[in-house]
Symmetry: C2
Subunit: 426 residues, 2 copies
């Protein structure tokens, strides 16, 4: 059932710097695991059924390492605001609606419908502070076929009207109840602790979440160094911290190599912050679309890569306007070019190869052996129809892949596989 061969034009990163392509090749899946990509189908797999996608591109599934599900229905609105104003005027009032389970059910159905049809095979997701709505989201996600981590958001301060938990104690208690409800409930959907960011969480709440992470072996996701005003605010809130990342460290929420914390943004992370991220084996979720929309700035991803920090790409809906990971790849390349040109010409732009790597294996590694067609990786694959983009040349597979990422509106997802399961087809 989950053992088969896909035939088509295959592309995936052999290394961070190099994309391996096979024109008219064979990609083998055995029990949900990739057995490799081949120019000629090896004898041992000759008995497997072959699905013929000749002429179509076959690439690894993508990991959206940071996305806010409840913000999806107002994406692309209020984009002339900066972070804190945008949160207060658009995001917090919207998220407050998720107290109403019927509202959440409907709104999340729009998100999950589109996620199922997206380029993402894996996602790490923020919900809201509402337990019922978060369980509803997780129930719906389980049906999409996408494998995900989902966080019920903790926030016991600065949330505004109807979007603030009564106390750290209440927030922690609700979190435990949520965890009890979802424990063992899903095959593809996992809980992750989710303090919104330090301005939303009291010291007591942060410490409680750090302890809970350790006690129940749960991962953590949050936001880090996104916007100048936010960074300054955190310094006021945690005056003893040496930097924003250190504030998380103080509360034992930075995780470790085996239980990595995801930090979205890191636009203003300096050498000191990079050291902390590296030391804890944390992941940076790079969200350049969001960072441009909210006038936050550009994260120096090349520096983070050189320092050996783990990095993936997030769409960060709704500060990012789209869940489209191809668009996120293009944005990340353009942002890195502008950082190079306008800020520091010793920081070379990201190449197409490197950015494709971040969107696939880079973020995928958060889920284990995911995001590649190398032997032993979980079989996440996208079959893409790029035939709408006519060409006068015989394009190489590498060229077609680049063109596809630069023209997300002109490519169609033909089939999508997650861990060997065909979760969507057009």
């Amino acid at each position: 059932m989950s053992s088969f061969v896909l035939k088509g034009d295959i592309a995936f990163n052999e290394t961070r710097e190099k994309i391996h392509t096979i024109e008219d090749g064979f990609l083998v899946c055995e029990d949900g695991i990739c057995k490799g990509a081949f120019e000629v189908l090896p004898d041992e797999y000759q008995n497997l059924p072959v699905k013929d996608f000749t002429g179509k591109l076959i690439v690894p599934g993508m990991t959206d390492l940071h996305v806010h599900a409840p913000q999806y229905t107002f994406r692309g609105i209020g984009m002339d605001l900066e972070l804190l104003d945008w949160l207060n005027q658009h995001t917090f009032p919207e998220e407050a609606h998720y107290k109403d389970l019927e509202y959440a059910k409907k709104a999340y159905s729009y998100f999950t419908y589109d996620l199922k049809r997206s380029f993402s095979t894996r996602a790490v997701i923020f919900a809201t502070m509402h337990t019922d709505a978060t369980v509803e989201l997780m129930d719906q996600l389980e049906e999409t076929g996408v494998i995900s981590y989902v966080g019920r958001v903790n926030m016991d301060r600065n949330g505004g009207v109807d979007l603030q938990e009564a106390s750290a104690e209440v927030s922690l208690q609700e979190t435990r109840e949520w965890l009890a409800r979802v424990n063992g409930r899903y095959a593809k959907t996992f809980p992750i602790l989710t303090p919104r960011f330090i301005p939303s969480c009291s010291d007591e709440l942060m410490k409680g979440l750090g302890a809970l992470s350790e006690e129940m072996d749960l991962r953590i996701q949050s936001h880090l160094s996104e916007n100048p005003s936010e960074v300054a605010w955190v310094k006021e809130l945690v005056p003893e911290s040496t930097c924003y990342a250190n504030a998380y460290e103080i509360f034992d929420t930075m995780g470790n190599e085996a239980r990595p914390t995801i930090m979205a943004h890191c636009v203003y992370s300096d050498e000191k912050e990079m050291e902390i991220l590296k030391k804890h084996g944390a992941y940076i979720a790079h969200c350049s679309d969001s960072n441009m929309n909210l006038t936050s700035g550009i994260a120096p991803i090349r520096k983070f890569m050189d320092a050996g920090i783990r990095i993936g790409i997030g769409t960060d809906v709704a500060a990012g306007s789209s869940m489209n990971m191809l668009k996120a790849i293009l944005n990340a390349i353009q942002a890195s070019k502008m950082y190079y040109r306008l800020v520091d010409q010793s920081v070379k732009p990201l190449t197409f190869e490197e950015t494709f790597y971040l969107a696939t294996e880079g973020g995928g590694s958060y889920f284990g052996k995911v995001g590649s067609f190398k032997e032993g990786y979980e079989f996440d694959a996208l079959v893409l129809d790029d035939s709408k983009m006519y060409s006068m040349r015989n394009l190489s597979v590498r060229e077609r892949l680049e063109r596809t990422c630069y023209n997300d509106a002109d490519v169609i997802i033909s089939h999508k596989y997650v861990k060997g399961e065909n979760t969507f087809q057009r």
Copy 2:
């Protein structure tokens, strides 16, 4: 035939800073001219046929002020290169193929097919140096319904293999022959003189084109101050010039208020260059997608606007990867935010309203009274179906418009009108 009323959710710029919206309003077209947008249909227009687009957005058609038709079929390829390498490795070898009329016929059919289905109702287009192919392009464009200026490209130096005219004299003679062939041939397609850029044109050729522009009252388009290496090269080539724009001025190719020259890019235009652009009434074609892709930089559009220089938006395919003007709007906003954040915080980002203005009336004014629904404007309109983007709120027309520009892949063109003619419908 071209007198009718459209009913729907109408949006257009009342001023550069403000978008006027009417929910469920009426837009009147009489003999191809807009008679205004109304909340209630005035008595005098009650007899006109009403096309009911209730629930759809109706916005002015957009002007793509700078696009290279022969580059369309290789868009999104080689994007890790900077300008001069990209030209030599991809663009020039591709354009050389247009010597072959059959090749041109096929390749241009891909361009015109997609242009017809695009958000652009007006376009200013570069062809190649090949006369037959340029006439072919113009023949095809005439059928799209889009109103355009098209330039047979002049280039008598630095063109590389098979893409360089033999001499200034030959280039000028061929230009005259081309002009004779297309004179009076079209209703919607007009010639424009098109020296590629100064590195491609000898002094003699530039002077000849300046004189021809005057003699035949023809407009000119070219490129200006796109990339640091290019700017430095021009200084070497025209050592007597005080700046790149002055080099064009020396050759009498900067035009005047009534016969405005379009200059694409202007990323590196300083105060001196701005004065020259302003003095001649030139248009800047702002191509931020291209400028990010080729690591050129970001043009300070706010400064140009404040100085009263005329500005429109260009997609600049294929350095811009898409002909999609909505994407170009989003790119222009994001670029301006990064200029503000990374370069100069006294230069405020472009607002959504201002950028929408540039894409419609800003560039449209190059064609006369175009790009608005104010009374007396030529009736260019797009009917857009944004129903795929579900929302939980009752969005205002203004919010739906913003969301549409931020999610170009999720909106569908239902109908397109150019000067009152329904040139495309889905």
